[in-house]
Amino acid sequence: MTLTADVLVVGGGIQGCSAALQIAQRGFSVILLEKNGVGRHASGVNAGGVRRLLRDPAEIPLSVASMEMWLRIEDLVGADCGFKVSGQVAVAETEAEFATLRARAEMVASLGYAHEELIGRDELYRVVPALAPHCVGGLIARGDGFASPYHTTMAFGAAARRAGVRVFEEVRATGFARRAGVWHVDSSAGKVEAKFLVNTGGAWGATVAAMLGEPVPLEAIAPMMMVTAPVPPFVEPVVIGVGRKLSFKQAPNGSVLIGGGHRGVPDLAGETSSVDFRKLVISAQTVATLFPVMRDAQIVRTWSGIESRMPDDIPVLGPSSTEEGAFHAFGFSAHGFQMGPVTGAILAELVADGGSNFPLAPFRITRFRENASVAASGQ
């Protein structure tokens, strides 16, 4: 049987649920298809970092707007999502790293933003007393924080449902054709017809894009996490490494979440991924060096999630280049959780208004082809 709606959203991660919710709030009828379960992939298993700190300049306006939405997240989705403002701080272990942070702070200030603040050694040890004594300074975003990823994604999904979105889980979109201004989409449960198509397929987003005739060089990656048994509270902000891969935070229940970039092995076809303990050894070494108090903490669980990464580490976000009435939002390159609220707002603008107030040019899907032709012409 064929179902119809104004808008079909493919993918039930945070981007898809946020988009479905905010598009429905504009008065459109929406169907969302999720091939597994809502929040099953990156959006439900990430580190929960809600961070503007150290974002690519192209992302800063979006990330800053998203943070405004995080501060009122309960108004948007009707749940607090475990969101807490704790601050996030990047730690320089050497003078050279500190110089990098200084240059970064100046660049951000020159763009007119004030959320990233360079701090010296004393202030660093005041905010993170448990840090090993060799660090020299840091860059802090005091208004950043963290949230509970699974609860957040489920809250977006539930709010979307309440706003009238029809959410179908364990249904995969398999084929796309646009005829007479209408999208005809095949799925594992039947056909859907819709005026607009939104691709929020995460690591599988490139598969959808390729079916629209616009292949992109997406790399599936599997960032890893470790979590410890609860230890007494010793660190308030989220701590990020500069020279080493680390993101480190203590959850409200006392357990410590360790992530930060070491990657496991993704299995796109199998819809799963596995951890690589050889690399977690490096993570553990980083933690043991930076936080000696953590040496005796018990690691109780490790996991990884499948995430999409673009070559320039910023997402594809905007209209399709080949088809009318289609929009993409994928490739968030391991930091898309914080962007969830604003991504939905942008997609709602694109669908409802035909354009966005945000500077989306850096995120255009054609950029990889342009670069390839530049490279081919010998530049």
Binding site: H151, V275, V287, A288
Partner: protein
Amino acid sequence: MTGAYDAVVIGAGPAGLAAATLLAERQARVVLVDEQPAPGGQIYRAVEGMTARQPELFEALGPDYAHGDELVTLFRTFGAEYRSQSTVWQISPADGSDAAHEVWLSRGGRSELLQARNVVVATGAMERPVPVPGWTLPGAMTAGAVQVMLKSAGVVPEGMVLAGSGPLLYLLAGQCLALGARITAVLDTTARANEQAALRHLPAALRGAGFGYLVKGLALKLRLRRAGVPIFRRVTDIALQGTSEVTDISFRSRGRPMWLSADLVALHEGVIPAQQITRSIGCVHDWDAVQHCFRACTDAWGNSSVDGVLVAGDGAGIGGARAAEHAGRIAAAEVLRRLGVADAAGRDALAAADLRGRAAHLAIRPFLDRLYAPPAAILRPADAVMVCRCEEVTAGAIRGVVQQGCLGPNQAKSFLRAGMGPCQGRMCGPVVSELIAEARGVGVEEVGYYRIRPPLKPITVGELAALDVSGA
């Protein structure tokens, strides 16, 4: 794969001991890894040297236990490498037929990585969780835990109440009596319907080794009666009472409400395969509707769905110690074939007696499995009962999230943190799957089980940081 073991055998119970012994006998490069201080597994725990050390205890534990002594002696004779007190916390299956499996283990706070062409998982069973009201109070134990104290420390509790069903419950009662301990009562939860269902399988149970098992079981019950131990039958509605520890136990026997004063209650409702390890490797699991548990799927030789990973013993389905021992040798014969030491005909010849032996010891299972099928009340406890002890999640909370659209155990885990504690969901996993199945009105097999995240047992940050992976 230079430097790789031909086989890493995990678990030194009857299955693992038998497998490692045969492999060593045939000159394979084998190591047996086990987290206990001495070989023997659950049934033969601490058996080595006990005749000399604690002859009375050895005597009291009976002839079945004594068999373990022979098994361990044989294992020592063939000199397989053996690592005691070593806990395997992760197995990374080989990513290609030329690669080796990686076995990560921890001993005395130091971790190490072994390479293995074949892995034989012989990690046995665990007791089925018995979530009755009050089961988390101090003073509530499992029969297995009481038995561990008995075997490894020679400690015999006085005045215990044993509650539940299954051969192990009566075995423990018998062992306590033989050591001169007083037992307050046995509360038997076996339902009449179970007896009726089992009866049909009695003729088959008389074949093979079954008759011997039946005689032993009857003799045990007789011994309890002779000793004057009160046995309450058709027991339901067990609840442990007490504020900071168990002080009383209330229940119904044949529908009649009763209570007893007790400060130690041993609960037991049978054993189920320990599935965490095979789940974490990614082996396919089947739902066994008769034994009412998940178990790793294996072929007759013990091959799991993951190439080069074999499962032997109770870990692949409950069959008891003697069946496990045969299964260990059968798996070892298959490993020898996989290594090219034996061809298929050679393997078949090597395993022929064990295949027959295993079948004989399994003959009684259909009868036992039905007789001791677990009561619904512990599979799907009442709302107020704690299900996940680590994160303090009740049965009602699990049912509640199902109403909110949570379809499986992994979502329940993400929602409620059930199964996220240090026990890694071992204790709540079976119950959570049952509860979700009940609330959704579907079978447990459809609901599935937790995805198991390594490490299987916690390790410290410092231990992981100190791990040398350069050579491996």
